[in-house]
Symmetry: D2
Subunit: 298 residues, 4 copies
Amino acid sequence: MDDLPRVDPSRGLIGLNIIQPSSDNTFMTFKVKRLLALKRSRYQEIVVADIEDFGRSLILDNYIQSSEVDEYIYHESLVHPAMVAHPNPRKVLIIGGGEGATLREVLKHECVEKAVMVDIDREVVEMARKYLEKWHQGAFDDPRAEVVIADGLKYVREVKEKFDVIVLDLTDPYGIEISKKLYSEEFYRAIYNILTDEGLMVTQAGSSFFFEKVYDYVLRSVKSVFPIVVEYNVWVPVFGYANNFIVGSKKYDPLKLGVEEVDNILAKRGVKTRFYNGKTHVALMYTPIYRASGAIKR
Amino acid sequence: MDDLPRVDPSRGLIGLNIIQPSSDNTFMTFKVKRLLALKRSRYQEIVVADIEDFGRSLILDNYIQSSEVDEYIYHESLVHPAMVAHPNPRKVLIIGGGEGATLREVLKHECVEKAVMVDIDREVVEMARKYLEKWHQGAFDDPRAEVVIADGLKYVREVKEKFDVIVLDLTDPYGIEISKKLYSEEFYRAIYNILTDEGLMVTQAGSSFFFEKVYDYVLRSVKSVFPIVVEYNVWVPVFGYANNFIVGSKKYDPLKLGVEEVDNILAKRGVKTRFYNGKTHVALMYTPIYRASGAIKR
Amino acid sequence: MDDLPRVDPSRGLIGLNIIQPSSDNTFMTFKVKRLLALKRSRYQEIVVADIEDFGRSLILDNYIQSSEVDEYIYHESLVHPAMVAHPNPRKVLIIGGGEGATLREVLKHECVEKAVMVDIDREVVEMARKYLEKWHQGAFDDPRAEVVIADGLKYVREVKEKFDVIVLDLTDPYGIEISKKLYSEEFYRAIYNILTDEGLMVTQAGSSFFFEKVYDYVLRSVKSVFPIVVEYNVWVPVFGYANNFIVGSKKYDPLKLGVEEVDNILAKRGVKTRFYNGKTHVALMYTPIYRASGAIKR
Amino acid sequence: MDDLPRVDPSRGLIGLNIIQPSSDNTFMTFKVKRLLALKRSRYQEIVVADIEDFGRSLILDNYIQSSEVDEYIYHESLVHPAMVAHPNPRKVLIIGGGEGATLREVLKHECVEKAVMVDIDREVVEMARKYLEKWHQGAFDDPRAEVVIADGLKYVREVKEKFDVIVLDLTDPYGIEISKKLYSEEFYRAIYNILTDEGLMVTQAGSSFFFEKVYDYVLRSVKSVFPIVVEYNVWVPVFGYANNFIVGSKKYDPLKLGVEEVDNILAKRGVKTRFYNGKTHVALMYTPIYRASGAIKR
């Protein structure tokens, strides 16, 4: 019977897979090795799984938020360009970022005295504490960190403090209902109001290639509030696309930083990274912005 | 922002799915609602999941073995034709059948005094006890039942008893290594030797449509050992195909039973079913055997 | 470099595939070997492809209508139970059935003097003439056949003739817009009016397992018009499920026909088949109706 | 019947799709709008299709080679860094590149007097002439161009001329048999021998993220032959990953070119591009190399 046909049960695209939309027509599939948690919180479906090629991963409403293998690419690219553009960021606010990795990157800057992280979904933060140790690496328990479970929009409207840098680490503007209002002009105006006069903010902005209209909406919203706006993007393997980021700034421009300048700032602040450095900073600033209608050269 | 494009995260074929081969080229996908267990035993990968359309399901090495919604179709069709063909089955042997549903159907016949179930994988049986209560319905604890964790081939070679009916509820002959030898002529000869002179056996036999050559191998194996051989098949929704069964018998022929005869036997033995009755029996016997090369009319 | 990893480009579920919904949550995938036509008609998207396991296939709006390998199972099961139940069908009407295979089966009955086939989409019929020779086998050119391109509902309302048997070979009630009105009580009343006093009609009715509510709607519609209603179903491999059929009859009941009776009628009328015969007829009538809420035994 | 459930046949991941492996475990799916050609040449399966998000696309053995929407990103990034690094490239050799887009980019440099393109598969080139006009844009008929249908390895061994720049635009080293030998040390030695003393070559090198071992094999092969080796990578949307490129050079180093220098060279040679310019060049050189084992910062 050895020569009889048989299906190989170990090969890819059989068994348990996660199918993730890149757009309405293009999808990625990931083979699941192990499922650690699947639950519906008040706000979203939360999955923690070990997947082939990417290891431990957090999935919210069917979108992979980050994976063990490449989360540092996303989180370093999100945090450091805005942080190095500010000469002395001492107070930092993070909206979203439930995994704790954005907080981790912010706290690497020794000049930071206080970092407040506001996430709406307590269950995501609890999942992160339990399953995503490689992400937060204890950042939640850093004495400079404060974790608040609250609606980001409400928090931003009511908080009395001002911040040097604000990092918006949200689910995509097109994917999930709960974060839509956090990409509006109204929200950015509230952000503007709690930034110091030298402050800047950065938001992740999904994919300008697959969701060009949504991206343009976000870009317009930022531009209608901030005098200095900088776009950049970087390929994040587990997303399958270059993730976009938009900086809104009152005074400082990340575009103006050169290779040595960035490397000096990182050294002075004791920041150790895996992906980001002076050359990476320039690459982020110089890489064209991908759009379905044609790349935008710098 | 209400008119912006967005992907609907709740729609099908997004998120967590099980992709199951029907053949090397045709596949079924099932949306997973909840994953209850995923572990690798010594013999196979065992998954218990709740899936859309089919509810709680047991998956071994990427093949769904049975689902809450339609397991009774498979298990009743496997067990009762052979059981009613025997005038007084008192001792019954089951090889495989870890979910406990085959045992449940066998024990419905009040004439049965002893039913031995032999499964190789202790962890499947433990999973069934824990997660598949709707399958076994306490059958494991029936005083007439005896559950043995052992290699079926070895058990059949060594057991000293004789049985009236033997039911082979195994994983498919093409899918999984561990059950291949349990479809060989050698194995059926061992089965023959532990049947009484009036005994009959039945085996599930996968899909004669998608795996015609494998099916023919099994059919030839049974025919080389038993004087009376009866094939039948019935669509099992979660498999996506008509599942084949083959009876090997020393004396009695299930083909000869009419509608009333079957209904009378079931009534006499106190057997209550959801799918199988006299008319179903005749339908099973009269439905053509599906093959890729053309159906075989009766 | 021989020991380097590589992906095997010939294996299943890579390359060109057709993904077909069984429901909103369960899907089948078919590997495409060759695409012969893909065009959008006024009514629907029409694809003709050669696929693995099933050969040449017609796909309308992403649903496979029939395949070379198993179309005879569907078409014989659709046509013959109603045809044999009528003692002498001379005039037959087919609504839909663009492939020409339903016409082919009807014309096998030598007693048929005239068969009118009414399909709304000229392009489907032209595709069938060009690519589906194994389906129609010249039936379109039989002197007893008349092919009309028209809206079935309009045709049925306006035609002056009466028919002995009417066969409704339509796209599914849930899948495609154009056929929805052809499953309504209003339509069946119009059908009733153009049947002779001894006439009967049969309709395909999709899947009572995956679309139970839609099926119940169709069943209620037929029952509200015809005194005798018979349901049956049979697994069609390329659909992945048992396809349902419903007979509505004024006088004759297919349930009452026995094995020999059917075989005699087929012999007398010179009907040669591959799947259907007396035993198949009884199997069709005796097989339980599959439903997600539980099978309905006969 | 309006409130009955129905499947929306126009939504994504239903109907005709191309499923493409990113690795053995991660896949991308693309919705097919129209299939223009599907044929098996002597060397490979060739598909030309219009797909959602990406438009017209060429697919060889299930891997998308390039799409209408983003081919310029791949082809400009492949060709120009090596071309601008050479002070005066007059004779250029292309191996592969059947779409004609690499030839198009090479010919944009007005200093080029002769460009020889050698592709093994005549049918790919014919397909490109017929279906991929946006790729070649008439380059095949440029008087400076010479198209040779031949085995690249054989051509390189036997040609008597020397070239200033050689561009290797091949199918991936892991995907398709026919190009494997074109990534070996032996082949690069032959390339070295037909380069002038100031010459450089560039090869596409698949994905260092998904196929790190294969990439390392290629990198080692280039390093064992050339004194100057430069790696770079850029996200190509239709691939779903950052595509790698490796330059092997005898004298000039693309790493040393600054923003203005590149822009001046392009202007002097009359090169108009959509993605590549001085800033893009620096971004390509400064972007870390993605690897599953961790990104390599520059």
